[in-house]
């Protein structure tokens, strides 16, 4: 233990430099002041909230909505910035949960009053008696197999030409036993194939395209912006697994807790009215959607222009809920179709 030179004066010099930078940094950020924990995705994009004449008098209710930083939730961002929620007396805070895993528990535990989640996850939640119910449609597939926000991507020379060829192959999906595996299985079944031979590999969306390109997996399910990225890597799209299952499939819904809805019917009605308006607006104003993407995601201008937008019908599609529940039973990750009235 006698002469151990742990740190020497050179580290000290380096440290002093770092400390100086750090001090400047802290000084710089203490100016920016607000450490509000829930702002728009990239901190910028402060939604202008100019209370109008008639909302001034109204009692505002603060609600928190759990969303994910993907294309699907553009309408609610637009609705907040357009003031649709304010008109209904709602002061909305959008919480960006990463990956959506936090959203259902967040709504169940009252962290969020409302949330956005894919339809199959909600069906699983209902079958587990989590006490959730749908408020409005969230996002839907388009009607076109080749022009949808989702796709199933393979290498051009893979020999996989149609969904049936996926038999015995490995496919990357972002979640096992969920909406993507259900719909891909159905896609293969409809094409005369046997989906039970497919090996699904769980990968995060950003990793799926690189894995297909490098040949680690034979195919991968993508959503925007990765559908565009995949086509840029010269991958071939077998078609949207959502559209193949049912054109216009309702992929996700906005939902709330059953108890919360029973105690606050007015707030739920107000949310429904505002989100319906937002969905309609987003559906007919793609440019507004692309502009909103610049605010709450990190997509660059080129990407926001290139992505294929989904559809945002305002009506909840009950047939989709039934279909996805049946597919979940067929795939065996649900034993029986539960009472789905809460999701319609």
């Amino acid at each position: 233990m006698r002469h151990i030179t742990t740190t020497s004066a050179r580290t000290k010099a380096a440290f002093v430099a770092v400390a100086a930078i750090g001090a400047l940094t802290l000084a710089a950020c203490s100016d920016s002041g607000s450490s509000d924990t829930s702002e728009s995705a990239s901190g910028e994009a402060e939604m202008s909230e100019e209370p109008t004449e008639d909302t001034m008098a109204m009692e505002m209710t603060a609600i928190t909505v759990g969303v994910i930083p993907i294309v699907d939730v553009a309408p609610i961002y637009i609705g907040v910035s357009e003031g649709y929620f304010e008109e209904e007396g709602l002061d909305v805070t959008l919480e960006l949960a990463q990956g959506g895993a936090a959203i259902v528990p967040g709504v169940v535990s009252g962290q969020f009053q409302f949330g956005f989640s894919n339809t199959t996850s909600l069906i699983l939640g209902v079958s587990n008696d989590l006490g959730i119910e749908a408020v409005a449609s969230g996002v839907a597939a388009t009607d076109s197999l080749d022009a949808d926000f989702a796709g199933v991507m393979v290498q051009a020379d893979s020999g996989i030409e149609s969904p049936k060829d996926l038999e015995g192959k490995s496919i990357g999906v972002n979640t096992l036993n969920n909406i993507n595996t259900s719909t891909i299985n159905q896609m293969v079944r409809d094409d005369g194939g046997d989906p039970s031979t497919i090996t699904y590999v769980e990968l995060a969306y950003p990793d799926i395209v690189p894995a297909v390109v490098s040949g680690d997996i034979d195919a991968g399910q993508t959503v925007e912006p990765f559908t565009t990225v995949a086509l840029g890597q010269d991958l071939v799209n077998l078609g949207s697994n959502f559209v193949a299952t049912s054109p216009g499939l309702m992929v996700a819904e906005y939902f709330t807790g059953t108890d919360y809805a029973a105690e606050n019917p007015d707030i739920v009605a107000a949310f429904e009215a505002a989100i319906t308006k937002s969905l309609d607006y987003a559906n007919s104003n793609p440019d507004a959607v692309r502009a909103a993407l610049l605010d709450y995601t990190s997509m660059d201008e080129a990407t926001t222009q290139a992505v294929t937008l989904p559809a945002w019908p305002a009506e909840i599609d009950g047939d989709t809920v039934d279909l996805l529940a049946e597919l979940a039973v067929t795939d065996g990750f649900l034993t029986e179709v539960p009472d789905l009235s809460a999701l319609k």
Binding site: T6, V18, S30, S35, G43, L96, Y205, S298
Partner: protein, 281 residues
């Protein structure tokens, strides 16, 4: 242990010589070696990407990463996120240090408690902090409290165990001497246990500082607690590859800064300790 003690003077040259002799060239050589090492890595990564050995769409050239990084430095959200991450790290680390040192002193000083809690500590310590994610999400969602709990849980055990070793390392003769001089428990803690345990506490601080940063970023990335980690997640899901790497570089630099800071603190606090002193009596 490194034997590159820069100040060892040959015994032949006796006499009062200025001690700074011959340190400067060595020091700068170390710095240069470090810089060269970093440059080789950067140039290597750049080459891999530019030549297409690795797909540049998934690993952009280093120059592009840094261009994006400098662009980010001009944007408010970046500083906001950096601040939130550093704040979460510092608060969690501070709480873990206070709790760990207090618990370590109390448990370590009382043999019965030490024996009583030993198995429990050994059971709880290996539980990865990330296993608590579902629990904290249920309790606090994406609020900073979620990250705080993960950071404290991970860092606390590091501190506690180090402090327990430190307290156990106290020379029993010194402690008995203090007792026979009628020192009270607080005074013994201050004048006997503390000096012995301090090097261990500083080691704990260094380890805990790194662990706390890792858990803070993880909580942001996985749960969506606001901070740099969440921005990495958003950049990833937006297919903004250069931005993702730029943010990762920032996190790496914070890690280096944290480590330097901890070592610096160690030097400052332990200037009197034999391991830190280069004079040899």
């Amino acid at each position: 242990m490194s034997s590159a003690s820069a100040t060892l003077e040959s015994p032949a040259t006796s006499g009062p010589k200025p001690r700074t002799r011959s340190r400067r060239p060595r020091r700068s050589r170390g710095v240069w070696l470090g810089i060269v090492g970093v440059l080789i890595v950067l140039v290597g990564a750049e080459t891999l990407s530019r030549t297409g050995i690795v797909n540049p769409d998934f690993l952009p050239p280093v120059t592009e990463m840094y261009a994006t990084l400098f662009q980010m430095l001009g944007e408010g959200w970046f500083w906001e996120s950096l601040w939130l991450t550093l704040r979460g790290w510092a608060v969690g680390l501070g709480a873990a240090m206070v709790l760990g040192v207090l618990a370590g002193f109390v448990i370590g000083s009382i043999p019965f408690l030490r024996a009583f809690t030993n198995s429990t500590i050994e059971f709880l310590r290996p539980i990865p902090s990330v296993a608590l994610i579902p629990l904290v999400v249920l309790l606090w969602g994406t609020q900073p409290q979620s990250a705080f709990v993960l950071v404290v849980y991970a860092a606390f055990w590091q501190v506690l165990v180090q402090v327990l070793y430190g307290v156990a390392d106290v020379d029993p003769v010194a402690r008995d001497t203090a007792r026979s001089y009628q020192f009270g428990p607080l005074r013994i803690a201050r004048s006997v246990i503390y000096p012995t345990a301090l090097p261990y506490i500083m080691t704990a601080f260094r380890l805990a500082a790194a662990v706390a940063l890792i858990l803070e970023i993880t909580a942001e990335l996985v749960i969506g607690v606001p901070g740099l980690g969440r921005e990495i997640g958003i950049a990833q899901s937006s297919a903004a590859v250069p931005e993702t790497y730029a943010l990762v570089i920032v996190v790496g630099l914070i890690g280096v800064a944290v480590n330097l800071m901890a070592r610096f603190a160690e030097k400052k606090m332990l200037w009197w300790h034999p391991s830190m002193r280069s004079e040899h009596s």
